[in-house]
Point group: none
Chain length 221, copies 2
């Protein structure tokens, strides 16, 4: 093959459902044991080990033994970027069961995406903050306004204007939500204050009763 040497190898390495699942689990940059990963992917321990070795050979993941446990974690952040990009270009799967549809709706409504808020809540929040002039947007850059400083301090984020912030394409909404350091801090602040709670089932988040009215309004709509 001409100018594209191991491209196929690369693609096929991501192109297996189990391996993709492994990568998306590890996308939070934490380390996981093989047993944990095996449970998440619903394949046997040996199969999990087999896939982890493949990913290791690609030099995408790092491994570390501590006692009886072997921990695996992502080496490079670009894996996350790739998956996110691929999500934006791949058409949503047809949902064929009620439960699947419910789950899809949950995830579509609000979820975390590499530790920032995504889904309807995520894009709604960005809109809200721009409408209220907490943020100012120029093309793909976002900056905190004078107004915004007070707003962010109010929700527990100091010196928001110093944090970098960028936009991230939301695969379900096909619109932008806030990413970068600021997006991350916001998500963390919401969690810390108990306004949102991570779902145990999937990457969706649930708005709690103690969240402020303006946030509830975004969730309802």
């Amino acid at each position: 093959m001409n100018g594209l040497p191991n491209l196929t190898e690369t693609i096929q390495a991501i192109g297996d459902p189990t391996r993709l699942e492994l990568l998306t689990v590890m996308i939070d940059n934490r380390y996981y044991t093989v047993t944990e990963l095996s449970k998440r992917t619903h394949v046997s321990l040996s199969t999990t080990s087999y896939h982890l070795k493949k990913l290791s050979n690609m030099e995408w993941i790092d491994t570390y033994r501590q006692g009886k446990n072997v921990y695996y974690g992502l080496i490079n952040n670009y894996i996350a970027d790739i998956i996110e990009l691929l999500m934006t270009i791949s058409a949503p799967k047809k949902v064929n069961s009620y439960n699947q549809k419910i789950e899809y709706l949950e995830i579509k409504r609000a979820r975390t995406c590499y530790s920032h808020l995504a889904g309807e809540l995520g894009v709604g929040l960005l809109d809200y903050m721009i409408e209220n002039r907490y943020l100012e947007r120029k093309n793909h850059d976002v900056s905190v306004t004078e107004n915004g400083k007070f707003f962010f301090r109010g929700i527990g984020i100091e010196n928001a204007e110093l944090l970098n912030s960028k936009l991230c394409m939301d695969w379900s909404e096909r619109r932008f939500h806030l990413a970068g350091e600021l997006g991350l801090k916001i998500c963390a602040a919401f969690l810390r204050q108990g306004w949102i709670v991570n779902s145990t089932k999937n990457r969706s988040v649930i708005l709690s009763m103690v969240s402020p009215e303006w946030l509830k309004a975004l969730y309802k709509s």
Copy 2:
């Protein structure tokens, strides 16, 4: 991962060498006949036709008949973007992931682990020291930099570069914190200066008001 865009299908659609070749031929946005494409890919006419149908089903390529000939061409130019992106990752450059800034959502207490700092504060501290080039990391070994000598002297640790230091997997964070003699001395130094205080209830530690700003920042975030 039900209800989510099915990446696997997307990825596997690009992940075949022949299809990738087809896509890269068509990347100039021109239309080609099946015979032409068959010659370019060096597979039989029937195989070419088979792949073109697959790409059609993905709605990536367009087809129209003109007399005896059938012409195929790209619909979307994002295919070019994808291929380009994938090429950048197929030759992976080794990146020291620990130089990359990583933030975490969970609010966990700082604690001691065999007399060195663990928990969010512990892993945050390690990240901080690597980011500021006080420490240098190679795989699972850590060494004190020239920069670091001054830093450690500043917080009351002489000849830090002579102390051995190793990484310890943090149970709550699933990332590394600093252990070994250096980790021990750091913890002792922090206690001596009153920056951290041991809880009387359990192994957790509390950051005091007299601790420096950079340390407080690690605790807050």
